[in-house]
């Protein structure tokens, strides 16, 4: 039997597919060749999204203090304990993989029930800030690029997009555009990805200099753009010559329809919101020069980052991108939620909540889903911070280091067991359908929250997703057209909504990256980057038998170096090496990639925890609260 049309839940592409099932068991997938997003294509993850539904290693029953409990008892336990804490000592961590409907309930639970603004989702605050930067700009969501637009673009400007397997549907468009349609590709990336041979122009700037380069490009096209640094400084920071920058600028201005493709999760954009700001500035210049249109495609790792944000799973946002201090919005929200007031002060964001847990400045956290493990690879640190909590509630499907220290665990329904909608990287609303019965006592997180809320005295009950949608569209009117049941629901692009709030951060000046200097003793700059599809702790993927096999390969800590350089210093591809920094040394495997520039070694972020002792602790960006990985100098030697 074939399910209704649904959407893959792994990443921000939002590919359309059907689930093949028999006797309530998922047995396969059928990609939709009519879907605008994927046109029949699926990446390795999409092809195996049915497998977690067959996996038996799920949490089936609620656990209270490690012991199996009935659902009712677990709900009572949580409500009883939550009651004790003042709102500022409670936090909710939602998920960028949760549906819109679910996220709406999460935000409502935080504000109407707990009365706190401590609600956020992991997703590297950098991503959230970057997306927000884009959406709150003067162009707003109208600058978002759809895949249809991408097919029309004559210049594709890819900045820091990494390897071709990260966002497959974007990759497909890039290759088709270049190989079949003869479009121009301007690729700016510190290392040479698979796209480089196809670029009309490929530039490899020094790491972390993107915001500089973008400003320099704007300046090259429009002399009136302020540039507080001299040409020589720009050359030295970016590592690019004036000719190269001019060539890039010329290529951009030759386009009538320009799309900028930007990886929001890439760590190479160390001040990502600033990069986004500069990118917007550049596109305005191009538009001013007569381009027909200029758009941005902000690639998102998770399937509903944009949706979570729009539903208000953020410490300072109400649904529909309204500030928590916006009096009109507050009034309207209060009336729909049936409360007399809402918390006024901006709450803690995700990183701040974790730090507060560590410092015992917060008593209780409710964590939904497992994104937190992917986005915070240091599980030991995470676990130790969270074990300080007096109450840790997790709504999750799988055991993890965190469920070991949770006081209460509710089994969560996974993809394929839930209904709802999500918003992909284009701003398109995509539909998820439930095909299989949730296993054991598992249910949607919104149901758990509703039951806890009701127990706490705030009656919250929805009989279905449709009921949630009815309510949320009163606050988020652009959802008015979207209905779960409509069989031919036209997925709509949420492009026409602009957010009428001023840009609130990243209006500061561009600043040079503070990189340590290499020396003979430490000839490499060791940079942590978000490599690979974000699978390494994606528990849903780890519970697919095929994907799990593929991930196992990635588990030994490895460092990428340039092939020629690696050979010249005696390293061997795939063999043990010792990496030494001023802080210490560690054993890794060295893997050769021609694509890495000499003088740089890349550490995939997932191994950061194992090398923390030689790299140093993550810092935190003051403005965004996002973690920043230190760049250290290092040397690599063959281990005998």
């Amino acid at each position: 039997m074939v399910s209704g049309k649904t959407t893959c839940g792994f990443c921000g592409c939002g590919c359309g597919l059907y689930l093949l099932h028999e006797d309530g068991n998922a047995i396969g997938v059928i990609p939709s060749d009519k879907d605008i997003v994927n046109e029949g294509r699926l990446c390795i993850r999409g092809w195996h999204i049915h497998q977690p539904l067959r996996n038996t290693e799920r949490i089936l029953h609620p656990l209270v203090k490690g012991e199996r409990a009935s659902y009712e008892d677990a709900v009572s336990f949580v409500a009883d304990v939550l009651r004790r804490y003042p709102p500022e000592r409670v936090g909710i961590i939602g998920s960028a993989s949760a549906t819109n409907e679910s996220s709406y309930v999460v935000a409502k639970f935080a504000r109407a029930v707990i009365r706190t603004n401590n609600v956020d989702f992991p997703g590297r605050s950098r991503v959230t800030q970057t997306l927000f930067q884009l959406l709150s700009s003067q162009e707003g969501a109208s600058v978002l690029c759809s895949f249809e637009d991408l097919a029309e673009a004559d210049v594709l400007f890819c900045i820091g997009i990494g390897e071709s397997d990260r966002y497959p549907q974007v990759t497909a468009r890039i290759f088709k555009a270049v190989v079949e349609d003869g479009r121009q590709l301007l690729l700016i990336d510190t290392w040479q990805s698979d796209f480089a041979p196809y670029a009309s122009l490929y530039l490899s700037p020094k790491p972390f200099s993107d915001e500089f380069l973008l400003r320099a490009l704007s300046k090259a096209l429009d002399g009136s753009i302020p540039m507080p640094f001299s040409s020589e400084q720009v050359r030295s920071i970016t590592g690019l010559s004036d000719e190269q920058i001019m060539a890039a600028a010329d290529l951009l201005s030759s386009g009538r329809r320009v799309v900028a493709i930007y990886d929001t999760a890439s760590l190479i954009h160390i001040r990502s919101p600033h990069c986004m700001n500069e990118l917007l500035r550049l596109l305005r210049v191009l538009k001013g020069m007569g381009a027909e249109w200029c758009r941005i495609l902000p690639m998102l790792e998770r399937c509903n980052t944009a949706g979570a944000l729009r539903m208000g799973v953020a410490p300072d946002l109400l649904p529909a991108f309204k500030w928590v201090t916006d009096a009109d919005a507050v009034q309207k929200t209060c009336s729909i939620w049936g409360v007399d007031k809402l918390p006024r002060n901006k709450g803690m964001n995700f990183n701040q909540m974790l730090m507060a847990a560590e410092r015992k400045e917060i008593s209780a956290l409710i964590i939904i889903g497992d994104d937190i493990l992917t986005d915070y690879p240091d599980h030991e640190l995470l676990k130790s911070a969270l074990s300080n909590l007096e109450l840790l509630v997790m709504i999750t499907a799988y055991h993890s280091p965190l469920t070991e220290v949770a006081h209460c665990v509710f089994p969560r329904a996974i993809w394929g067991e839930v209904d709802g909608t999500c918003v992909n990287m284009e701003g398109r609303v995509c539909r998820l359908v439930s095909v299989c019965e949730p296993k054991g006592d598992a249910r949607d997180e919104w149901q758990v929250l509703c039951d806890v809320a009701t127990k706490l005295g705030y009656t919250m009950r929805y009989s279905s997703c449709a009921e949630i949608e009815d309510e949320l569209k009163r606050l988020v009117p652009e959802y008015g057209d979207i209905r779960l049941e409509r069989a031919n629901a036209k997925t709509c692009l949420l492009r026409e909504t602009s957010i009428t709030i001023p840009t609130y951060s990243a209006h500061g000046e561009i600043s040079p990256p503070a990189l340590p200097s290499t020396s003979e003793e430490f000839p490499f700059l060791l940079i942590t980057e978000r490599y690979y599809l974000p699978w390494h702790a994606d528990l849903l993927a780890l519970h697919s038998s095929t994907l799990q096999r593929e991930f196992r390969l990635r588990f030994t800590p490895h460092v990428f170096v340039n092939s020629a350089v690696g050979s010249s210093i005696g390293l061997r591809d795939g063999m043990p090496a010792t990496i030494t920094t001023p802080h210490g040394s560690a054993r890794v495997t060295s893997i050769f990639k021609e694509a890495i520039p000499s003088g740089i070694a890349i550490l995939p972020e997932m191994f950061f925890p194992q090398l923390r002792h030689v790299i140093g602790r993550e810092g935190v960006d003051e403005q965004t609260g996002a973690p920043i990985y230190p760049v250290v100098v290092a040397r690599l030697e063959r281990t005998r």
Partner: protein, 361 residues
């Protein structure tokens, strides 16, 4: 009309099609449209949903997946001391209606492959009781190139029953014992076809050949690849575009690789543990596919895996063994590929020895 024989050429009037289908006392798989219009071979669909020949080209997932599904339970087990194994019941007979020539050719290959050296029980139990009523293609799709691969559009042999749509009626060609068995006892639905109709069929075949948009010069591909006269640079450029999604293997009706996985349920009250062993589609492009337990792999990089796929499909040594080139020209890989490295793109790249602009449209 007399008895039906292998080689018989009959006609079936369109008006009697549904009655004929209803008379088949076996589950029927036929092409329908899913919610958004995708073509899919569903089992026992309502007759009014079955697509007519002119209404579809082919399905996204080949109907051979009805015999070799993406996931298949091999057996269940119960462990409590001595293991007890329980095998799925024998499969029901199946008639696949509306299957295209390319998939029929693929089916014949699969029957050969799954019985070579050892007989693959799960596949064969199904294949034994499956009969194919194919409809020869007169309107090739934009991605089709079966004439280049001995995969159609009309088959001369290797089919059970081949229908050719002539508007008011079908020409019905009986190609095998199975086809004959299916029609025996149902002669009442059919008339003998005239020689004139058979001649029209042959002309129609020639006309259809002119309608293909793509050509893929398989012979050149086979030659260049087998003689190892393809430059490393060319291979690298192509492999760099592959993102190892597995789509080509999963939609290709001739691909047969699978993985075998055990699953265990939580133990029951008496301590017994139940579970099952299943097989699921696998792909040689996945890095873990040829990885050994110790962590080494004979194809550790994308380039070697990419070459492997095309070696398997195009090398002369495989052709000799398999009796055909590893492609039937169904075009599904073109639909699913992210990097423009589907079969015609690769073959034509090998042939023209250039990277850009190789699609011959």
């Amino acid at each position: 009309m007399g008895t039906v024989e292998v080689g018989s050429k009959l006609t079936l009037s369109k008006g009697r099609l549904n009655d004929f289908l209803r008379s088949l006392d076996a589950p029927l798989a036929a092409p329908i449209r899913l919610e958004h219009g995708e073509v899919h071979f569903a089992v026992n669909p309502p007759l009014e949903q079955i697509l007519r020949d002119a209404e579809y080209v082919n399905s996204t997932i080949s109907p051979v997946a009805l015999l070799f599904p993406q996931t298949e339970v091999l057996f269940n087990f119960r462990l409590n001391g001595k293991p007890q194994l329980e095998f799925p019941p024998p499969p029901q007979p199946l008639i696949i209606f509306g299957i295209r020539s390319c998939d029929v050719a693929a089916m014949r290959y699969l029957e050969m492959f799954f019985s070579r050296s050892f007989v693959d029980t799960p596949f064969f139990e199904r294949a034994k009781v499956t009969t194919l009523i194919s409809i020869a293609c007169q309107r090739p799709g934009k991605n089709c190139f079966c004439p280049c691969c001995a995969g159609g559009p009309f088959l001369e042999d290797g089919y059970d029953i081949q229908l050719v749509d002539f508007g008011e009626l079908f020409l019905v060609e009986v190609g095998s014992e199975k086809g004959k068995q299916l029609l025996s006892g149902r002669e009442g639905f059919f008339e003998l076809a005239s020689e004139e109709l058979v001649e029209r069929r042959n002309r129609l075949y020639e006309e259809t050949l002119q309608k293909f948009e793509i050509a893929s010069h398989m012979g050149t591909g086979v030659r260049k690849l087998t003689s190892r006269s393809v430059s490393e640079e060319l291979w690298k450029m192509m492999a760099s575009r592959c993102i190892e999604c597995g789509g080509c293997a999963f939609v290709c009706p001739l691909c047969t690789c699978f993985d075998v996985v055990d699953h265990k349920l939580p133990s029951e009250n008496d301590g017994a543990v139940c579970g099952w062993r299943e097989r699921c589609w696998d792909c040689c492009q996945f890095a873990g596919y040829s990885m050994e337990a110790a962590g080494v792999s004979p194809r550790p990089d994308k380039l070697s895996r990419f070459k492997r796929r095309f070696y398997h499909k195009l090398s002369y040594f495989y052709m000799e063994m398999d009796g055909r080139v590893g492609c039937v020209g169904c075009g599904r890989c073109i639909q699913v590929c992210f990097g423009v490295v589907d079969m015609p793109a690769v073959v034509n790249t090998l042939r023209e020895e250039k990277v850009f602009g190789v699609r011959l449209r």
